[in-house]
Amino acid sequence: MSKEFRNLHYESPKGYFNISPDLCKSCGLCKEKCPTDVLDWSKELGVYGSPIIEPVRIEQCTACGICQMVCPDAAILIEKKKKASKTA
């Protein structure tokens, strides 16, 4: 049986922000790297009992994926929304 990790799901204008409290160790590397200052500490606790990251200013998120890239624990997953086709 493979291990399962909880997931918190947030919607931003350009995509979806997923974070797992079972993986986040609250290092804060993503918070400092975010170019639009979306991330801050949450009330939810992570794997070491410390506050995890939450996209508190989610309306500023551009779904660039830098937080996912620098996360050493693979706790963050960014899903980009597909652009609405012009014909629709």
Partner: protein, 250 residues
């Protein structure tokens, strides 16, 4: 929904969250390496060798065959495996203590013989696992447990420039580069080229990665990034030092 999609498929999800400290650069390097293993599709013919030090915590990191060796002896063990079975791909994963202090003889001689393996040295400017003592790569003026007044180059020497050393002696066909966790896309490009150089069988592939150690540097996230991107990059320059296309007399 299960948040496993951010993990490379080659990661062993049962052992996650991994054993590295919060903010450790090893996680970033191993994530990039995992993505490359997935993209190139080498999971079933890869042997991953880890050294003594923090790097040994990666012994159950991937779903690949892993061997953990003694101080700095990862390179010769990988060379032996590669010579016995040339179809395998061998990656020696070391810290700066294992790679440069205790294992520099093996690193230098393997590079000189142009062995067809790949070595990754993760440089975090100190000995992380034993509590932050001074390492060969400690920056001038940096305070560690054994250099409490800062490293003095007069008495304690200057930091080891590993890729420059390997690039100076390696014969044609070698690939040598230095990346940083501050520039993930560039680092991924370097590591991928090194893996492809080994698959092509051109020669020794060597990548040094400038990494972080927030626990022993006693830095918060902002100071950690500043140290990696501003202080370390003053001394250690990122870029490719040798590529296999380069002509060179043997």
């Amino acid at each position: 929904m299960v948040n496993k999609l951010a993990m490379p498929k080659s990661w062993n999800a049962d052992t996650k969250p991994h054993k590295f400290c919060p903010g450790c650069g090893h996680g970033i390097v191993l994530k990039i390496l995992g993505e490359i293993i997935d993209e190139v599709g080498i999971q079933n013919r890869l042997v991953f060798g880890v050294d003594i030090g923090c790097s040994l915590l990666a012994w159950d990191f991937f779903n690949v065959d892993t061997v953990q060796t003694h101080h700095g002896r990862t390179t010769p063990v990988m060379v032996g495996i590669k010579r016995a079975n040339p179809d395998l791909l061998c990656i020696a994963y070391m810290g700066d203590g294992g790679g440069y202090a205790i294992g520099s003889q093996h690193l230098v001689n393997s590079a000189f013989r142009n062995e067809k393996i790949m070595a990754i040295v993760v440089n975090n400017c100190n000995y992380g696992m034993t509590g932050g003592q001074m390492a060969p790569t400690t920056l001038p003026g940096q305070k560690t447990e054994t250099s409490p007044y800062g490293r003095d180059p007069e008495t304690m020497g200057s930091p080891t420039l590993g890729p420059e050393m390997v690039a100076a002696i390696a014969p044609a066909g070698a690939y040598v580069a230095r990346g940083s966790i501050g520039n993930v896309r560039q680092l991924k490009r370097f590591l991928k080229k090194a893996v492809e150089n080994q698959i092509a069988g051109n020669g020794f592939s060597f990548v040094e990665v400038m990494s972080s150690c927030p626990t022993n540097w006693r830095t918060n996230a902002k100071q950690t990034w500043d140290y990696v991107e501003k202080e370390m990059s003053k001394y250690f320059k990122t870029g490719e030092l040798r590529t296999p296309d380069e002509k060179r007399e043997a």
